[in-house]
Structure formats: structure tokens, C-alpha cells
């Protein structure tokens, strides 16, 4: 029997001014699975992901997380829900006044009762998991783009969240680092059993890490299918996206 959805989005609408960004999104994500949301630039992918963690409020619709509609929740209740999430930002969003160690330790210091000794142990184990040994005392400005992404990932999973959101984790990275980040996503899923939602327009990564792919265009999910079935999509916008991507990457 398949696991129940851990996140369910029902008829989600969001607009900025007169511009409708999300126009009736419906989506279900099973616990422990990886969903990749594909779409062109400006299709509303980041807006969608920000609704899942309550950073934005929709005009209409519901976002169910672990059996609870988070749309009407106040700040305190939202904070409780957010502890179930980890988020990896497009540019990592590491705190540049803190060292790598302090960045990864930060969620533990703020949201757990662990002693400094335990925190040190957990942080080192997470950094080792992503091959980041020996950079504890470096500041984010001293790291490469790939390293920053990995530190961001280490920080996102340090509290062992149930759900991890990745906002374009491979954008701007070279192919080798992109492969490395994909491996990290798979490793996080394998070692911690997290549910992952990945926002991307990188098809190679999507096919590698996804259990399901949702194609977002003009504020609507046009296709929701396993990666292998996406090529057979009858939707013209999906076909155009795939054709264009394969032409560029062949």
C-alpha cells in the first residue's frame, strides 16, 4: 500500500498585483518520495515552494502539511510546522556573519535542547556526510558555489526534518558539481528518509532524483507523472520544454 500524502495542495491561487502567478494548483506528495517541479523561468516554481512552508499566503486554496492546513495558521503555529522542514535556497542563503560550523549549528542551537558537545558532534557528522571536513572556521564568502550549496544542504538536514525543499539546487553549477549535488539529494533521502521537493529547470537532474515530476506553466500543473512517462506527455508546453532542453544538451 502506498504511503499517504505528506503534503497536499488544493486549488492554490496567488497573484501579485494583477498578475496571476498560481492559478489553481493541485498537488499531492507522498511521504518519503521526491517530487521535482519543472518549469521555465517565471513560471511560479519558487512562489509555489514558498507557499508550502508558509512564507507566502495564498488568496485562495489550501496547503495541507502532515494533515494540517497551514494557510490559516498564525506565526506560532507556523513556526511549529516549519520545524518539519529544511530548505536549501538557490544561492544557499548562508548567514555570512557566521562560520560554516556556526551556520550548520544554528538550527540546532535555536530549535533543540542539545548540549554544545552534542551539537559539535552532529555538525561534524553532517559536514562529513557532504564531504565538507576541515572547513569549520571558514566564512561563506571563502567558499565556492558548490561548497556553499553543500553547506546549505547540511544546514537544511541537520535537524533531521521530515521534508526538505530545494530551490533550484543545481542552477549555476558546473556538470560535475551538479552531479555531486544530485548525489547529495539522493543520499539525504536514503540516509534520512526525507520527503524532497525539488524546484528545477534542469531535466537531467530531475530525471536522476525524481520519483515524480510536476510540470508547472502559466500558474497551472500541466503534467504530473514519473520521469519515464514525461516524454510521452501530450501537452504542447511540456513537449516544447523537453524539445528545447534536449536540443540544447545533445
Amino acid at each position: 500500500m502506498s504511503k499517504p500524502p505528506i503534503i497536499r495542495v488544493v486549488d492554490l491561487h496567488k497573484s501579485f498585483g494583477s498578475h496571476g502567478v498560481l492559478e489553481g494548483i493541485n498537488l499531492s506528495i507522498r511521504e518519503g518520495s521526491t517530487l521535482v517541479v519543472l518549469g521555465g523561468s517565471g513560471s511560479g516554481k519558487t512562489v509555489l515552494i514558498k507557499h508550502l512552508i508558509g512564507l507566502l499566503k495564498p488568496e485562495k486554496g489550501q496547503v495541507w502539511v502532515d494533515g494540517e492546513d497551514i494557510v490559516p495558521l498564525g506565526d506560532e503555529a507556523l513556526a511549529r510546522v516549519r520545524r518539519k522542514f529544511g530548505m536549501v535556497f538557490q544561492a544557499a542563503a548562508l548567514f555570512d556573519s557566521m562560520t560554516v560550523f556556526e551556520n550548520v549549528a544554528f538550527p540546532l542551537r535555536e530549535n533543540s535542547e542539545k548540549s554544545e558537545e552534542e551539537i559539535r558532534e552532529v555538525v561534524h557528522s553532517r559536514l562529513a556526510l557532504f564531504d565538507l571536513k576541515g572547513i569549520d572556521e571558514k566564512f561563506p564568502a571563502d567558499l565556492s558555489g558548490g561548497m556553499r550549496k553543500r553547506v546549505g544542504l547540511a544546514r537544511a538536514i541537520v535537524l533531521e526534518p521530515k521534508i526538505v525543499l530545494y530551490d533550484e539546487p543545481t542552477t549555476g553549477l558546473d556538470p560535475i558539481t551538479t552531479d555531486y549535488v544530485d548525489e547529495m539529494i539522493l543520499q539525504a533521502k536514503a540516509s534520512l528518509g526525507v520527503t524532497s521537493i525539488v524546484i528545477s529547470h534542469d531535466l537531467a537532474s530531475a530525471f536522476k532524483v525524481a520519483d515524480e515530476v510536476a510540470f508547472l506553466s502559466e500558474g497551472k500543473i500541466l503534467e504530473l507523472a514519473p520521469p519515464s512517462a514525461l516524454r510521452d506527455s501530450k501537452m504542447p508546453a511540456v513537449q516544447r520544454f523537453l524539445d528545447s532542453w534536449f536540443r540544447k544538451n545533445e
Binding site: 512552508i53 512564507l55 530548505m87 544561492a91 548562508l94 548567514f95 538550527p107 530549535n111
Partner: protein
Amino acid sequence: MKVNLKPPKRHAWMDGLQQGASQVGAVFKGRVTELGGMVLLAFQVLWCSIRPPFRLRNFLTQCEFIGVGSAFLVCLTGAFSGMVFAHQSARAFQIFNATSLVGPTVALTITRELAPVFSALMVTMRAGSAMCTELGTMRVTEQVDALETMAINPIQYLLVPRVLAGLCVLPLLVALFDFAGMAGAYLVAVGFQGISAGTFWLRTQRWLEWPDVAEGLMKGAVFGVVVTMVSCYKGFHASGGAKGVGKATTEAMVACALSIFILDYLLGVLLH
């Protein structure tokens, strides 16, 4: 009978007037919206400051940044302000043979006006601009969003320590300015202008009262809140990358400086 249904002829000056009025209206609306946003944020800061977790370490860090970091600058500004003011007032009072009034005149002006205004301007330039830039950069690089995703209230974590530090530290800087200003005034009045030390201090003690000093300290506390609130508000709502952060910082500096001068007058009237 024929009825003329043509609309009245519009002149170019009418269009210009309409356009000008709508532009003025848009600017006015923008300023009112911004003021409303600031008041709302001030209430949120107040609400967050009385609820746990209390971030003492962040507060002390900000006190150190605003206070210790600005102390030398405030001392220097205070000393030279006192010296200049003593020099000019000595020259003026010599005309009436009333140089004994240099001490109290300088003391009253420094404690009531110069110390709070100049200290606040120094803090605006040094700490306010840094605060606005830091928060603006955090906003545009999604570090503020990152805090929220970690279930940390960014207002409580970032803004409350800064505003409380401004409230507590600026009166201390005002007091420091008072001392440095009077020391500078003494040096010029007694050392260079030949006014006797006894006359300088006796007259100063006779005219200067505690309410005068308290007025300056109170103004300092108000300016401390205003400078940090405006800087934090502008930085917190910055958008549009590095250019947006630069624009927010410029706007914050202008708004802080204007607020200081306007509030200085209003508080001066209110406190008397």
C-alpha cells in the same frame, strides 16, 4: 435648436496640472504607506521584545557595535562642538562684556540640543547605515527567509536587539557628548579666551539644572529608537539586489536625519 455636445476644449496646462497633482498624490500616498508600515513594525518590535526568547547576546553585541564603536566619534564631535561653540560665544559675549555667560550658554545648548542631535547623527552615519545595509543584504540574499524557514522570528532575532540597543545606548552617548563638549568648551574658554575657571564652572552650575541634562538624555533615547527603527525598516524591506540595498540605505540616512531635526523641535516644545 442645435445643442453643442462637443466636450470643452482641454488646454495643455490642464493636463500638466493634472499630471503634477497625480504625481504629488502618488508621492504623498507612498510616504503615508511607508509611515504606516514603520508604525506597524514598531508595534511588532514592541510585542516581540516582551516575549521570550530574550536574545541577550544579540542585544549586547548590538550595544557594543552602536555604543563602543561610536564612542570615540561622539567624543571627538562633542569636544570640537564645545570648542567651536565656546569660541564663537566668547567672541559674541565680549561685545557686551559678558564672557562669564559662556559656560552656562555652552552647557545649556550642549545638554539640551547639540548632544542628542549630533550623537544621533553620528550613530545614524556609522551604525544606522551599517544596520540598513546588513539587513538589506540579508533580505536580498534570502537570509531573512532562511531564518523564517528555521522557525525563527526575524523581527525578534534581528530587529529587537538593534532597537533596544539604540534605546539604551544613545542616552549614554549623549552623556559622553556632554562631558566631551564641556571639556572642549572649558579648554577654549579658560585656556584660550582668558575666562577664569571659577567663573566658568560657578556660572555653569548656577544655570544648568538636572532637567536640562535629562531633556537631552530623553531626546537621545527617542532618537535611538527612531534611528534604529528607520534603518531596520528600510533594510528589512529592501529589494532589487545591490542597487536596491544602496537605495534603501540612502533613503534611510535621509529619513533618519530629517526625523532627528523634526523630532528635536517637537520634543523641545513638548518637554517645556
